[in-house]
Amino acid sequence: MSADQEPVTQLSKPTKSLGFWATSWRYFRRRFLAMAALYFVIFLALVAIFSPAIVGTKPIVCYYKGNIYFPAMGYFYQPWENAIFTTGDHFDNKYEPNLKKNDPNSWAIWPLVRQDPIEPVGDDWFEGQPKNPSNAEGHPSWQNLFGTSSVGVDVFAQLVHGTRVALLVGFVSMGLASVIGIIIGACSGYFGGWIDFVLSRFIEIVLCVPTLILVIALLAVVENPSIWQVVLVIGLTGWTSIARLTRAEFLKIRQIEYVAAAKAMGAGPVRIMFVHILRNALAPILVPITFGIAAAIFTESALSFLGIGADTETPTWGRVLHEGQDHIRSMWWLNFFPGLAIFSTVLAYNLIGEGIQEATDPRTRDA
């Protein structure tokens, strides 16, 4: 007998079968806002990657004394700035006059905007470019698109270069937190019994120990604090709420028939937890994760206040905001632009989060 008992269907759709996540991605792609948000985050990532080419005072490429150099790499990691420019010939960030002076044959390709995220650009840095204004005079202008800080550091440059930290801290730390939180919460909720008992106590202990104390204690052992410690701290302490939410959801879902069905098929606990239950438990977990990625920016700036933040050579959005705190009334741009940046990332992350939630729910997808 022919198997076709179905009503007539139009449109024979692609026959290749995709996994759950691949299908979700297909549906995600159809959501305009979510995709726009995703593109925005990709855009930010590109900004982060190409920040030295967008703004900077170090040439992207330059020819100097017979060699080709890429001094702008120093923005990623200080020691990558070729030693000849720093400790060698003491350019001290003033590339243009020094290149000319030391080697008339030199040439350089410059970033789009010639501003530095760490130091105020001085009078003699570039020909025809005046010194950066400081304090209340540093309002946005053509020279300093987003204004300057109180000592004259360009805000646009700080924000562009700060994108690296903003993205890194958010994704890596929340990635860490999510992995820990979901695994612990899933085990705890699914197995119940003494496993739940032990893991719940563990969660409680981590919840009870104040982060601040951990941070300061950590500082005592870390010799060179860097952004990675921040990531670690946020990641290792920020998972508790995810774990609790996962646990609660697993407690509920493990009672539903399809879990019994999976068990009856002989599925192991890992499979049941991460293939069957997790995708149905995403709704409450996604929210703290999306917000967590954004909130990491705030946490980073709060921690840097304690001296555990990014080292002083790393520009961050939080730092600009922090400076703005001191000059709220006279230098609005110090709050406005980083605020705008944070807002747009928060919005983007949340749109993506909503998009994921809807794309992973077969019942809302089509609507």
């Binding site: 007998m1 022919s2 198997a3 076709d4 008992q5 179905e6 009503p7 007539v8 269907t9 139009q10 449109l11 024979s12 759709k13 026959t15 079968s17 995709l18 996994g19 759950f20 299908t23 009672q255 539903i256 028939e257 399809y258 019994a260 069905a261 999976a262 068990k263 009856a264 098929m265 002989g266 599925a267 192991g268 499979r271 069957h276 995708r279 149905n280 992973t360 729910d361 077969p362 019942r363 809302t364 997808r365 089509d366 609507a367």
Partner: protein
């Protein structure tokens, strides 16, 4: 002249998902006040969608493309939601097809019914409770004053279905849409429910839209019958007309396929034996065909005879082997063979908790000390009143519920002591098809993933691609379109989901299968197809089944041995034919007698009763 209550005109409801599904494709019918319209049809033909269209409760992806649904003159399709809300529950109420997932898990069943009462009637809470308890009693829920405090998960499948019925009936609607309301009910309760419906219909003039695949039930209750096939109405007529002289080949096929208690065949005929369908540009073309006598012969001869317990055991249980009384190919298991599954003194007690601090406050003895053996290649039929513990037994065997006490041995190993890998190994051989197909499918897995899942877990079926092909084959075997593998569970009809579950259970090629009401939601043709499949598999691969069902004719068709359960205990056990022929227990007799009858005489009788009742009612109205 009676009023026309509902008039559906050229209704088209399409789903707009990945592809457009024309679930209902231009149907029209009308329903008079006090009339009962039975809708039968193939599984997936759009019955539920039609009823949901009337209720205006379609899924978000569904859209009514055209047509009108006029209820007492108002067009429901265009009615704004607030006005529609006033009609819902009060004027039209509905019993949903899947009672398992249709009850809110966090409220007691009592409060869910009470809510409906309070919403539409001006009564106090206490009165509403009274009414609820009474309704529960009427629909045959035992101990109603206790059960109102139960949560859905504490009720058996049939009990939940009765809660749904109670809820729908609570407000005396003008129109009751009952979507397969008795699938999970045993025949006695079913008869009781049908009685209530008839009574309400006759005394209050309620109209009923009764969707079912059970032609027996249709025969019992309907005035008119609508036969649906692939989103279209293929036949519409008075009940006796349909049964007497079906016009459409599909209807003819349906009538021919249903198993009866007195069926002789070993394989059931299916609709495809009576018609051919070809898909053409303009739609489907159906041509009638006659079943050839050879074919019929084949159905009678195919397969093996019944396989009974070893003779000594038969002796022991009071059904000694009676030479010659059984058909020629009935055999017994060799005397020294060990049972594949042996259950001894199995008990499952559920604690009942109460109050904020959930003190244990008594136990429900769902299964209370049962023993039985199943031998390799046998089918054990398990029947019994709804709520007697059948599902629980099945689950306890697979250790999906930890038994309170007792021994379950599978292949000589105590199932209760298995752990980890050996438990997994056992589960490869032992499979269950759940009573609640919707709940047992992960809503976020395509059914392809769902069907491949056991293969992936057990590491069989080769590569991913081969597994996919196997899934497609399985889909075909249970009568579904393999193109739909990429859909999600909610995109199917109740019967389709049930078949998916069957396909999934078969995917691992188990040795032993517990089928819990596995064909209850299937139309007779598909049901026949599935039953044939199961039989064929048994023959080919020596599969062993525990077959739980309310439909005695199905059980009789399938089972070698049969157990009758009541209140957690096995009250009767023996060769299936013996038990049907000579039920020793009053309870069993009742079950057999309550099976709906669809003989023409019976229909005639019902119609006579009906006319009388109607006349009485009209006269009372006239005199009033």
């Amino acid at each position: 002249m009676t009023k026309i209550l509902l008039k559906v005109d050229d209704l088209r409801t399409f789903f707009h998902g990945e592809e457009v599904v024309k679930a209902v494709d231009g149907i029209s019918f009308k329903l008079e006040e006090g009339e009962t319209l039975g809708i039968v049809g193939e599984s997936g033909s759009g019955k539920s969608v039609t009823s949901l269209s009337i209720m205006q409760l379609l899924a978000r992806s569904a859209k009514i493309e055209s047509g009108t649904i006029s209820f007492l003159g108002t067009d429901l399709v265009r009615l704004p939601d607030p006005a529609m809300r006033k009609i819902r529950g009060k004027d039209i109420s509905m019993i949903f097809q899947e009672p398992m997932t249709s009850l809110n898990p966090v409220f007691t069943v009592g409060s869910q019914v009470m809510e409906a009462i309070i919403l539409h009637q001006r009564v106090s809470k206490a009165e509403a409770r009274e009414q609820t308890i009474q309704l529960f009693d009427e629909v045959g829920i035992p101990e109603p004053h206790k059960r109102v405090h139960y949560y859905p998960h504490q009720m058996s499948g049939g009990q939940k279905q009765r809660v749904m019925i109670a809820m729908a009936l609570s407000c005396n609607p003008k129109l009751l849409i009952a979507d397969e309301p008795t699938t999970a009910l045993d025949v006695t309760i079913q008869a009781q429910i049908l009685d209530i419906l008839r009574r309400l219909r006759d005394s209050r003039g309620m109209s009923i839209l009764f969707i079912t695949h059970d032609l027996g039930v249709i025969a019992e209750i309907a005035d008119h019958v609508l036969v649906m096939y692939r989103g279209k109405v293929v036949e519409h007529g008075e009940i006796h007309q349909i049964f007497e002289a079906p016009q459409h080949p599909y209807t003819k096929g349906l009538l021919a396929c249903r198993p009866r208690l007195d069926t002789k065949v070993r394989r059931l005929p299916t609709v495809s034996d009576f018609m051919d369908s070809t898909v053409t540009e303009s739609g489907i073309e159906i041509t009638e065909k006659k079943m050839s006598p050879e074919k019929y012969e084949e159905l009678l001869q195919a397969g093996r005879g019944r396989l009974l317990h070893p003779k000594p055991i038969l002796e022991e249980i009071g059904h000694p082997w009676k030479e010659g009384e059984y058909s020629a190919d009935t055999k017994c298991v060799a005397d020294d063979e060990k049972p594949l599954l042996s259950v001894r003194d199995l008990k499952v007690h559920f604690p009942i908790r109460k109050g904020i601090f959930s003190r244990v406050h008594g136990h429900v003895k769902a299964v209370d000390g049962i023993d039985f053996d199943v031998f390799r290649g046998q089918t054990l039929g398990l029947v019994g009143e709804s709520g007697c513990g059948k599902t629980t037994t099945g689950r306890a065997i697979l250790r999906l519920i930890e038994p309170t006490d007792g021994v379950v041995e599978f292949e000589g190993k105590n199932v209760r002591s298995l752990q980890g890998a050996s438990l997994r190994e056992m589960r490869k051989k032992l499979q269950i098809i759940f009573q609640d197909p919707y709940g047992s499918l992960n809503p976020r897995m395509t059914i392809e993933a769902a069907i491949c899942e056991p293969m992936v877990i057990q590491g069989i079926g080769g590569t991913r691609k081969e597994q996919g092909q196997r899934a497609a084959e399985l889909m075909k075997e249970v009568g579904m379109n393999p193109d739909h593998l990429r859909r999600y569970p909610h995109e199917f009809s109740g019967g389709q989901r049930q078949r998916i579950c069957i396909a999934r259970a078969l995917a691992v090629e188990p040795d032993f299968l517990v089928c819990d009401e596995s064909v209850s939601a299937l139309d007779v043709s598909v049901q026949a197809q599935v039953l044939n499949l199961l039989k064929e598999l048994q023959e080919r691969r020596g599969l062993t089944y525990i077959f739980i069902s309310h439909d005695l004719s199905v059980v009789k068709f399938m089972a070698d041995m049969m157990a009758v359960m009541n209140a957690g205990k096995i009250v009767e056990f023996g060769p299936a034919e013996d038990i049907y022929a000579n039920p020793s227990q009053e309870y069993t007799r009742k079950l057999i007698n309550a099976t709906p009858k669809d003989s023409l005489e019976h229909i005639q009788m019902r119609q006579e009763e009906r006319k009388q009742a109607r006349a009485e009612r009209l006269s009372t109205i006239a005199s009033a």
